[in-house]
Amino acid sequence: MTTFANALASAAVVVTVAAVVVLWRRRLRSILVALSIQGVALAALATLLGAHEHDGGLLAVALLVLLVKALLIPGLLARVIAATPGARETDPLVNVPASLVIAGLLTLVAFVAARPIVALVGGPTGRLVPLGLATVLIGFFVMVARRRALSQIAGLLLVDNGIALVAFLVTSGVPVIVELGSSLDVLFGVVVLRLLLARLTAAGVRDLDQLRSLHD
């Protein structure tokens, strides 16, 4: 039991730490690595839950998560980076130390705010919900505080992964069909954004703030 709880907690912690790393590191490649690791951790968590509850569907979801979130999406984004000249580092609106301190505060907020859910679900899964909530909040913050389009996508993915984490923990497993739907949605979104990004790059736009000049 304790080993299971420990392993489960470690996987959840890796998901949150990966979100922090997205804020922490400036190199876009490192951010992709963090996202990929987050996908792996999420898959590991689903596997653990599936194995613990003897739920084949959950194992299938784990495989799906692994393929889409750990391999496919980071792979697609890596090609975006390779195709975009001169965009190796993020461009923070809020400087990195301040972002990290804010991320810490968001984690604490999540810890307090998740009280009712923790009380409702309980057990080794329920008490990890704050970590999922923290991932969601950090993801939103990444979208607010980073300028590059790729960072925006990364933020969106963090939010999605955070929601997935909460969903796994709260319902002890999402039906395959729901997870399939949401994963494909996100994948679809990434593909569209990637195409859009390619067009923007072709038009010479690198920061989303530059889009502001469109309305003049």
């Binding site: 130390p97 301040a98 604490l108 810890f111 307090v112």
Partner: protein, 666 residues
């Protein structure tokens, strides 16, 4: 009671003695004051030793209620630490009078200030408390304004201080009067017995009013703006008392609020803790970047009071979360920190006063090299500075260790809000600690070590005996209570038991603490002994080895990047020392830079003159108070048009008001 009456009489005599003719005035006042201080110390030691409050009631002395005395062990702890600080300040004054503060008004004000400082914790009802509080505020205002004729800064300091302290006093009066009216009795014990009948919202409002009023006295951000001005401008013995005794009474007020109102809900202490964290971080950050020695010390006071309020809030939170042991432990730590602060901060202010006496200089960028010319003062300041920085084996370390322990034991994880607050407290404590070390290494290293940066510092002479003795007393106490914190523990624990009604279970041997049922202990005496023995052994080893290379130490000119002769101007100044930190916290401090480069006419690539100015003024003052003051001024100017002196217009105003009143009433 007789001792207390004697104390009042002696204090009054000392105040009158301020009118004595000049050659003997200060000696006369000071010797009477020494008697007062010794008497107060003996009285409070008696209360602490017997663990019984000193009670008394004398009707007819003051209107409404008479005078009620209630010197509990809690109050006695405050009186005792004030007495020690005041003793040192009085002795320092004997020498300092040749520099400043020898006039009749200053002498009388000083005597009355000391007496009221000693008596405030003994007040047992609202009227007595408020009268003493006001006399304390007014006499300290006289001392802050002491240099007003010579220095514009002193006048400004007095304005700020007067405004803040009167605003605070108004809030305190309001809160206490409401409580007294509800209890139908001005006595503190009667109020404490009846306050829980008040509705929750009213209690909360009274708590906020009282804590805000007392926080203004304790110098918490954002009510701290008077502190760096007043502490810097007051003469040294007075600033030692302001920082070592008077701000403590602000904290006494917050503790008193808790005894009057009870612990209350958790949100009270979350609010208080928030301001504690802000004050601690803000104060330490400004201390680390200040270059004026006394301003630095004042900001550090603000930071320490922030830590104290963090401790109080932790105690309240743990109590609200039903964790009584951690709660009492936090309160013991808080009171220990408070007494430690009184000792080391008065050492530092007296030391700074000695420096000012010897060099007429407070700016660190103009000091340096005092370790050779003023050895005794330097040693006391080093002890005080290392104590503020919470380094073992000095008393600041024991206090901070206890505070961290209470937080560690209070973090049970049972209640997320308490857990989050505790984690933030620990982080704030840690960053504050680090910044304080920067501040005081800067103050000591730049101000006292290295080479003299100016003529006055070069030719500084050691101060008279009394001015060397005074900080040595408090510095000695810092060492004693640092090495053997157990000596003070029982007194502090009795004081805290007045509030929490249960003991922390903290045990002590002479040399250290152990946390009773909780797991944890520290032994500063053993650490100090070990380190001293090791130092002596290594020194012997170095001497033995050095014999081969020649026992004589060769002096050389330090490395100046190839220049043959180095000069004192090549040293790092206090400003440059703090520069990296200032850049890291650029967004918070928002310093104002002004770079003016004029180029040669012939070519843009040759610079003719570079002028650089940077000002690091208080950002709260600039962003919060200045706009408010500007608004008030604007409003005042507009109001002039309303009152232009025409009688008809005034009658018209009266008429309009009358009409409105009639309409409203009907």
């Amino acid at each position: 009671m007789i001792a207390l009456a004697l104390l009042v009489v002696l204090g009054g005599l000392a105040t009158l003695a301020g009118l004595a003719p000049r050659p003997y005035r200060v000696q006369l006042v000071a010797s009477l004051l020494v008697l007062v201080e010794i008497l107060a110390a003996a009285l409070s030691v008696h209360v602490l030793a017997s663990d019984h409050a000193l009670l008394g009631h004398e009707s007819g002395l003051l209107p409404f209620s008479g005078v009620r005395v209630d010197l509990s062990p809690l109050g006695a702890l405050f009186t005792l630490s004030t007495a020690v600080v005041a003793l040192a300040a009085t002795i320092h004054w004997l020498g300092y009078r040749r520099h400043a503060m020898s006039s009749a008004s200053a002498s009388s004000a000083f005597a009355l200030f000391v007496t009221t400082l000693l008596l405030v914790p003994a007040a047992g009802d609202i009227v007595t408390f408020l009268v003493l509080w006001e006399v304390m505020a007014l006499t300290s205002l006289v001392l802050v304004a002491h240099d007003h004729a010579q220095r514009d800064e002193a006048r400004q300091a007095a304005w700020w201080y007067g405004a803040m302290t009167q605003g605070g006093a108004a809030l305190i009066t309001l809160g206490l009067v409401v409580l007294g009216a509800h209890a139908k009795n001005p006595g503190f014990s009667a109020i404490a017995a009846s306050a829980h009948h008040l509705p929750g919202a009213a209690r909360g409002a009274i708590f906020l009013a009282l804590v805000a009023g007392f926080a203004a006295k304790a110098g918490l951000v954002p009510a701290h703006v008077w502190l760096p001005r007043a502490h810097a401008e007051a003469p040294a013995p007075a600033s030692a008392l302001l920082s070592g005794a008077m701000v403590n009474l602000g904290i006494y007020g917050i503790v008193l609020t808790r005894t009057l109102l009870g612990v209350g809900p958790a949100w009270w202490w979350l609010v208080a803790g928030f301001f504690g964290v802000i004050s601690a971080l803000y104060g330490s950050l400004y201390a680390a970047t200040s270059t004026d020695l006394k301003r630095l010390l004042a900001y550090s006071t603000s930071d320490n009071m922030g830590l104290v309020v963090i401790g109080l809030s932790a105690s309240g939170l743990f109590s609200a979360a039903h964790h009584p042991i951690a709660s009492s432990l936090a309160l013991v730590a808080t009171l220990f920190l408070l007494t430690a602060h009184a000792l080391y901060k008065s050492t530092l202010f007296l030391g700074a006063g000695s420096v000012q006496y010897a060099t007429h200089e407070r700016n660190l960028d103009q000091l340096g090299g005092l370790a050779r010319t003023m050895p005794v003062t330097t040693v006391t300041v080093v002890i005080g500075g290392l104590a503020v920085a919470a380094l073992p084996p000095l008393n600041g370390f024991s206090a901070e260790w206890l505070l961290v322990q209470s937080l560690v034991h209070g973090l049970t994880g049972a209640d997320p809000v308490t857990t989050v607050a505790t984690a933030i407290f620990v982080a704030a404590l840690a960053l504050t600690g680090g910044l304080t070390i920067v501040a005081f290494v800067k103050a000591i290293g730049v101000g006292f070590f290295g080479r003299a940066r100016s003529e006055p510092a070069q030719h500084a002479r050691e101060v008279p005996v009394s001015m060397r003795l005074a900080p040595a007393i408090t510095a000695g106490a810092c060492v004693i209570f640092g090495v053997a914190p157990g000596l003070a523990l029982r007194a502090v624990e009795r004081a805290s038991a007045v509030v929490t009604a249960n003991r922390s279970g903290l045990g002590a041997s002479i040399s250290g603490f152990h946390l009773g049922a909780l797991r944890g202990a520290v032994d500063p005496l053993a650490l100090a002994l070990g380190a001293v023995v090791a130092t002596v052994l290594v020194a012997g080893l170095r001497r033995g080895l050095g014999l081969k290379g020649g026992a004589k130490v060769r002096r050389f000119e330090p490395w100046g990047s190839g220049r043959i002769v180095t000069s004192a101007r090549m040293q790092y100044t206090a400003t440059s020392f703090a520069e990296p930190l200032q850049r890291v916290f650029d967004d918070v401090l928002a310093p104002q830079h002004d770079l003016d480069v004029s180029h040669a006419i012939e070519s843009r690539y040759y610079v003719e003159r570079v002028a650089y100015a940077s000002a690091n003024d208080d950002v709260v003052e600039r962003r919060l108070y200045r706009p408010v003051l500007a608004l008030a001024t604007w409003w005042g100017m507009r109001a002039r048009g309303i009152a232009n002196g025409s009688v008809h217009r005034y009658l018209a105003y009266g008429f309009v008001v009358l009409v409105i009143a009639v309409v409203v009433v009907s």
